[in-house]
Symmetry: D2
């Protein structure tokens, strides 16, 4: 259970306090504000605040006095234009804040994106709960042979059972050690009077990397798209990709025009190198370019052929 | 007139659209949302959006599920603690967006603060209005002799009149040149058919640095305080300080606890160097430290004596 | 003359101090270190320091103990791979520092790139020289009608003469006013005893935007490429593009593999949107796609057709 | 052993390649360039590159053509002035690059400093060595009762032995599990043919947080000082503080004037709040201020009294 009863009640209370505001407001995002979406086995992501909407992008691009343009079609066209021509600053004018619960090894990838604000739950200050990530059997896979940092074939049922058993046993045992080192009865007093209560900042080192942490994470829309471009991509590790995919769905609710433009001009886009561009021109003018005549290294030709869905005979 | 009739109407229309939101809302800030505050002779600053409030700082510091603590006094105490101990990340969780109109030479100082988002009105794309900054006579002063980058005594009435006349004449003439180069009748057609309409990106170079520009500027509370610490300071140039002082007043409305802590622990604070700290300790233990016994260089001793209001006999 | 005799001598003296170092060193860049390249009429750019080389990119990507790999071909291949797959952090491991003299209106565009370090010459503190930018006649052009923020046709000789005369007269007059306001005889004493010496921070507002300023500017290679991608592009204003083009030439000397990869995978590259990608696939499979069957808006079709060099009948 | 024989040899080879350069060079830093300093039990820190020196700070502050001033005493005075008045940009003009090996839980604190460049060794791509941090017995301490995120009294010998045994056993066991999951014979082939080789990006989650990772980390001098101000402080966790202290020693070699100014005006400095400043003034004018008459909250009074070394009777 990612969220306990007390936490659920706190969230529900927060969802009952309606206010009146003059700020740009997005009803579809308000509907899910504060509500946690379950991620992996014990994680979640929830939006705790946001600033701006599609019109705010237009407004900033125009440095205007009112709110956006009159016509919806103009706003959409301008947002598409800004995205296509890689304008960044108007998209920086929208901001979103999440509360995320995630395994530590995922947090370590995530934090590499530096242009965001973050407040993490402190294990120097507080005790972590006994919650660790165990993959679903269908997500266990062998090391890829083609991609040196990815997954290959999925494990069979028996193999998966062995792996999960090992992960579970080791994580549980690590927590037993953590508990023994802390020697805390839950109220800050020792469980065993005669034993020391090791400093939290030390005891935490006994935990495994699949334990859950949590943080508040705030980012502007431009940098969010950069994050999603990398982490909602098929090459991202599955355990971070699921968070990115949910954030992309939330983006659809929040700024639907920007989200549409992002899918068209970024996520679904493909960049041709100078040589690849000339190859495409040769194809369009009727030539059947091959690996040999392409001028590309074999590996790059394969990447290109795959992206263009060339039938290589 | 910093704002024309059309713009005033646009702002008024925006102020009429009330929405319902679950987000943290600050009624005192809502009261002034979108409203322009006149700055200098033709400039203004207005808040166009914000995210978070005092409770949001507490909420992020605690990575909590609900909104802040129960007791107001606890929130205030925690914010004071965070400010005193120079925690930065919880303050980054609040964000504010302004629309600012300001002279170009002020914009050039302002933009040196890089941890903000900005969209400036483009003089490559649009024509700038004939609006330039002329100081009030009482703000005209001679070069300081003690501070190589500041102002000394104020000019007398006659001297001021001469200066203002020169500034006004040259700025007007520069705009005449700009207009002649653009040769635009206001609708994108030439005023004089037989003359060229010089590219806007070129014509703008004829304007003087006191012409007004405008931008949308968005910043988080932590970086805003850094900006205000430098620009609301007595050593800042008056023409940027007036904007900073207004932003500080707005901060009082927005996050009153953080603003109080900021005044107590930053703006009104004073940092003692290692040597100065030891001097203070000597004073406290009863010694009458002097310039000679202080161990400080003369210039630093003067700064110290002034900050401590020492009566130097 | 962008550089006076004293400055030239100072630079020559600096170029005479050879040291021994264990750091990665690039002989071709050492050859031009400190030497100013003339830009526009009174500006320059010169490299004053650098850190890292092509091997340093490889070394960081591998977190290695020695310096890069053994084989040069492997280094080049890895750098191409990193560039193609948009890895950013290894390129951040190289750094370069320039001293640049440039017109203020160019500096205002330049400074929008925030991920760099900058120290600008202070006109609050010092007096600016009488040096302003006057375009070459062949660079004077009318406002573009197709691109709302660009230039169209070049002015004819007579038209150019009129424009240059106006720019020159107004800039000279602005400097006369500046001089009169400062009332400084060049040694910090008044030229006219009976007149006030206006504070420098005020007097500077009388200058026009084509006056030259200068700064030290330091940036890492990743962010430099981002800058060059935008400013060495055909759509950039000519007055900033010339600086970017020179920096690109310098990059060829400094990190030739990275520069080659940058030209192939960024500068010369072309990004296809999701729809454009499907159009290219249709072309490759033999279909003759047209504006009507493309599914693109007219403007985007024209951009696409132009990039693909389609002969539109 | 933090470094193996091959790595030592690679470093020694690198230290043999001397080059000639025109860049600012610091002989004392060259002496230790590339050499690893042992940190904790298996970690290290070594400088792999640097840019600039004390003179480069002066040079940037003055936007000068040559290298700094003529007189050493002027350089030192200017650097002290810049530090005292919190100028940041001249210090950003120096840059340093380290190769660091450190426990993962330390890396997680370290990475919170976002204004730096980092390339971390990838456990998605490579296999981590069996190296985990075990504290020295004298560094094991109980949770502090006064400081909720720090350490209190040191454990006695017996207690320490129990803790170390637990940490060692659990970390070893975690590595056994990791090895079993990877099922890699060291050459990328399976150790046990019949078993799967789990993807590295999954297997790593079984490791405990005291395992060592390593990265290249590059930062400018201004942001380095911010890092050191927090992490070389007595309140920092010991396991990160030792790295910071070594970096401070290295700073003494690299930029001795800046390091001296940093110790005087930052590390050894003390900031008085507005109220504390007025208390100090009252003390200096002869009043014996007490907790009761101070106007401070009890906790803040204790902090103040401790910093001023008040004898509280």
């Amino acid at each position: 259970m990612p969220i306990n009863t007390d936490q659920t009640r706190e969230i529900e209370l927060t969802r009952m306090k309606k206010s009146s505001t003059l700020r740009p407001t997005v009803p579809k995002l308000e509907e899910i504000l504060y509500a946690p979406f379950k991620m992996l086995d014990h994680g979640f992501i929830r939006v705790v605040d946001y600033m701006g909407d599609d019109a705010a992008i237009v407004q900033a691009a125009r440095v205007s006095y009112g709110s956006g343009t009159k016509k919806v079609s103009e706003d959409r066209g301008l947002i598409n234009y800004l995205m296509r021509h890689r304008h960044s600053t108007p998209f920086e004018m929208c901001e979103i804040k999440y509360h995320v619960k995630l395994p530590i090894f995922v947090a370590r990838q995530w934090i590499r994106h530096r242009t965001a604000n973050v407040n993490e739950y402190s294990a120097r200050y507080s005790v972590l709960d006994k919650e660790f990530y165990l993959p679903e059997p269908e997500n266990l896979a062998v090391q890829s042979t083609s991609n040196r940092q990815g997954r290959g074939n999925t494990l069979n049922q028996e193999e998966a059972a062995v792996v999960l058993d090992l992960l579970k046993t080791d994580a549980s045992r690590a927590y037993d050690g953590y508990t023994e080192l802390l020697n805390d009865d839950g109220t800050g007093k020792p469980r065993h009077e005669e034993k020391p209560m090791l400093a939290r900042e030390l005891a935490r080192m006994n935990l495994t990397l699949n334990y859950y942490t949590q943080w508040y994470w705030k980012i502007d829309l431009y940098n969010l798209m950069h994050f999603l471009g990398l982490r909602a991509d098929a090459h991202a590790q599955m355990e971070i990709r699921v968070y990115a995919e949910k954030m992309l769905e939330i983006m659809d609710l929040w700024v639907p025009y920007a989200a549409g433009a992002f899918r068209e001009y970024r996520l679904g886009a493909h960049t041709l190198s100078a040589t690849q561009l000339s190859i495409v021109k040769r194809f369009i003018s009727g030539e059947r370019v091959t690996a040999e005549t392409s001028g590309l290294q074999p590996r790059e030709w394969r990447e290109f052929a795959s992206a263009m869905e060339l039938k290589i005979s």
